[in-house]
């Protein structure tokens, strides 16, 4: 330990990573323990209409929930209610799987970016390397502060599960999947990390300061990761003739995504971003997904050929690069109202896989824009799938989430009225079998 310390400052990074990993492991195991310790009650939701996604709609059915999981789903006359279950009368209500928003910045409270270090003397100013704000190793979980109010507002639009992604820099960091089941972060984690998030942005005053520089920077880092990983692998299996590679926390953090093909999510703010991302995904054979993509409708052929899944946001504002944003307000507003809302409908017609997300929108505008997308031609069924089973699949959580089936996590919502109707209201939400009641008094 002492010799390591004195060896060099470089190893400090390694130490930080080590501590990070150990602490992550410790609290994950703690989460598992606490989940086992807590005995959850059993519920029987009776007499509700059920949209299970996995099968035909049941007009009058029962859902049994035990220990946070769905125990049974079926027609009212076929399901026997166990004596210990608390019965929740749900006649007049419709049950759906909880919605999944596969890209949010929920609870994210990132610290202010630190000012670049001032050089201490002239010599240092000449030798000091640039320190870009790049953190592929960042785990978003470390920057989250859950708030009860936020959770409630998400529940009220039907969202029970979110991907929380970091939001700064080019290599933004690694996202986590959370079940919105309370206010204890550790108990919410479904998957950590899920994906590496990349944005085609620039560094303030540092390399890369331009989009072209960013693309070059990304490619260089991907090549470096492949080289670095190969070097270590060979060194570890047999060091003959090999110099030991220098530990690099940046590249180390990229290995799971570039070499081991964990998911990489590219934020695409316009059609050209989509093309840039698709080129990188193809060049480095990444397990890529695209998020944002409100101009996906302009890149249909490329998307069809690439088969890369999309996490579509419901922001209908034409991006600043778009022709529709450069011809004055009238054209821009017309495009926002008439062209961009049809994005999801067009993709669905073209059989391009997508999930819908609430990214960049408040919970109320998410719901509003979702309805606009449906009005623009997206079927309700497709919209529902894009918020349940589709994202569940890409998150690798299709065994846990996305449908109302026995064995799955009891994430479900009960609405008065059809989910996407103007007057629909979410009155009850179950997350991990924990019941949240949003029924207003007098109803």
């Amino acid at each position: 330990m002492q010799s390591e310390k004195t060896k060099s400052r470089r190893n400090r990074g390694a130490l930080v990573i080590f501590i990070l990993v150990v602490s992550a492991m410790t609290f994950l195991s703690w989460v598992a323990q606490s989940a086992n310790a807590e005995v959850k009650p059993a519920y029987a939701l009776v007499n509700c209409r059920i949209i299970p996604i996995a099968g035909p709609i049941l007009d009058k059915g029962t859902i049994l929930v035990r220990d946070g999981l769905i125990e049974a789903v079926g027609p009212a006359d076929k399901i026997k209610i166990p004596p210990d279950a608390e019965v929740i009368e749900a006649s007049g209500l419709t049950a759906y799987p909880g919605l999944i928003s596969a890209h949010t910045n929920l609870f994210l409270e990132a610290p202010e970016p630190s000012e670049p270090r001032q050089p201490e003397d002239f010599f240092q100013s000449l030798t000091q390397p640039a320190e870009p704000q790049q953190f592929p190793e960042l785990l978003v979980l470390k920057q989250l502060k859950p708030k009860k109010q936020t959770i409630e507002s998400y529940h009220k639009v039907g969202i029970t599960t979110v991907v929380v992604a970091p939001n700064r820099g080019i290599f933004q960091g690694q996202s986590a999947v959370l079940n919105l089941n309370g206010d204890q972060l550790q108990a919410m984690v479904l998957k950590q990390p899920w994906a590496l998030h990349i944005n085609f942005t620039t560094e303030r005053g540092l390399y890369p300061s331009s989009l072209m520089g960013t693309v070059a920077f990304l490619r260089q880092k991907f090549y470096d990761t492949l080289h670095y990983s190969d070097h270590w692998k060979r060194y570890n299996s047999n060091p003959l003739n090999l110099k030991r590679p220098e530990f690099d926390p940046f590249l180390e953090a990229l290995i799971p995504f570039v070499v081991d093909k964990k998911p990489v999510v590219f934020q695409c703010n316009n059609q050209e971003d989509i093309k840039r991302a698709l080129r990188l995904i193809a060049e480095f054979r990444l397990n890529g997904l695209l998020t944002g993509c409100n101009e996906a409708w302009r890149v249909l052929e490329l998307l069809k050929n690439s088969r890369v899944p999309l996490l579509l946001n419901l922001d209908f504002r034409p991006p600043s690069t778009s022709l529709y944003a450069q011809q004055g307000d009238a054209v821009r507003k017309k495009a926002e109202a008439e062209i961009y809302p049809a994005n999801a409908a067009i993709l669905h017609r073209e059989k391009i896989a997508f999930a819908l997300t609430s990214f960049g929108l408040s919970d109320s505008s998410f719901l509003k824009n979702l309805k606009l997308a449906i009005k623009a031609g997206l079927s309700q069924e497709a919209a529902l799938r894009a918020l349940t089973i589709e994202p569940a699949r890409w998150l690798g959580l299709e065994k846990q989430l996305g449908t109302l089936e026995p064995g799955k996590i009891a994430n479900l919502i009960l609405t008065r009225g059809e989910l996407f109707d103007e007057k629909a209201k979410v009155v009850r939400v179950l997350v991990d079998g924990i019941v949240f009641n949003y029924e207003e008094k007098g109803q």
Binding site: A216, Q220, V331
Partner: protein, 436 residues
Amino acid sequence: MRTSLKKIVVLSTILTILGFSASSLLAGGNLLIKNATVMTVTSGVIPKGDVLIVNGMIKQIGQNLTAPPGTRVIEANGRYLIPGIIDTHTHIALSGTNEGTEAITPEVRMADVINADDPSIFTALTGGVTMVHTMHGSANPIGGVNVVLKLKWGKPSEELIVKEAFPTLKFALGENVKQSNRTLLPGRPQRYPATRMGANAIIRRELLKARDYMAEWDRYEKLRKSKNPPANLIPPRKDLRLETLAELLRGRLIARCHAYVATEMVEFLNLAREFGFKIGAFEHAWEAYKITDELLEAGVGVSVFIDSWAYKIEAAEGIAYNAAYCAQRGILVSINSDSSERIRRLFNEAGKAVKYGVTPDEALKMITINAAKQLGVDQIVGSIEVGKQADLALFSEHPMSAYTRCDLTIIEGEVYFDREKLLQEREAAAIKKGGN
């Protein structure tokens, strides 16, 4: 460049009707243009000439041609048909111009940041421009890899790229490089270089690095291919910066160097000789007239402005006769816009060259076939010849006349700009708006 205001004016007037004009203009790549004054550029002028275009290619040039049924016929009424204008130096249709934080950035590629929605594309079409060499800026001694585009307005970015063109790498010398070294963040050192000698030195240093890099890879490849490769042979690190420079040294990339004064151009010619790389052209090259012997010996052309001599300190010894004199000495000269506004009147720039001693025919070459030669596309465009791609522009008067204007711009047989139609549509749109 104070083009933003102009840009807004052009946008608000012309672009509003684009939404419903673009698709209606397409002709399926088949056209017959009748009774034009056909300025072939490479084989004289045909008065009352017809040009038949089939599948985007020039099929026939002559008189009294007939078209297959269904072909759109354009009656030129004696107007002037010229090859589409080619701008050898612009920065349009890009998201970003410089990666200015470092002096040496050959790893960046303009092809990564094409924006096919840039209205400058349409602006350029209104002036008969059909192809551009859109480049990295001049902030860096070694900038990025440029790209040649056809201005197919409304088509996706990947369909704009001209794959046949030379791959080129931007270099820059002089004031822009020197003055791009201001620090962007407090406490940061100023960017090196701050002088002309520094610019030369840093380029040389990088090229030496690239040589070492190539040698390292050669060593590796030799070992890898040997009968008994050593155990645990790993390839060197792939360095995109040096990779690009290695391509230059291997002759697969061609240098395009922004330079104003004679001394820096001669120094760069010496560097090219020392390292054995090719120079496509000097950009702007205000003092080229001083070193015509050197340019001729090296076989290097120039891409110039016409009459903005002395607009900045390093252009102080620029002269309006630069293009004329260089052309007379046998140097390949093209005229560029370097501007999203001047690009729509590049023919006027060529016209001005006539005042300073260039013949009208030669001036027209400077924005067509000469430009095509400098970009390595003279086999496919740059003149009106059978077998070439039908990139054409129809002008109301002689294209070098001060009174001329572009009426039609055609790329591969598709009409991308039709002045008359556009004006009609604009009027209709105005009436409709007024009627409401």
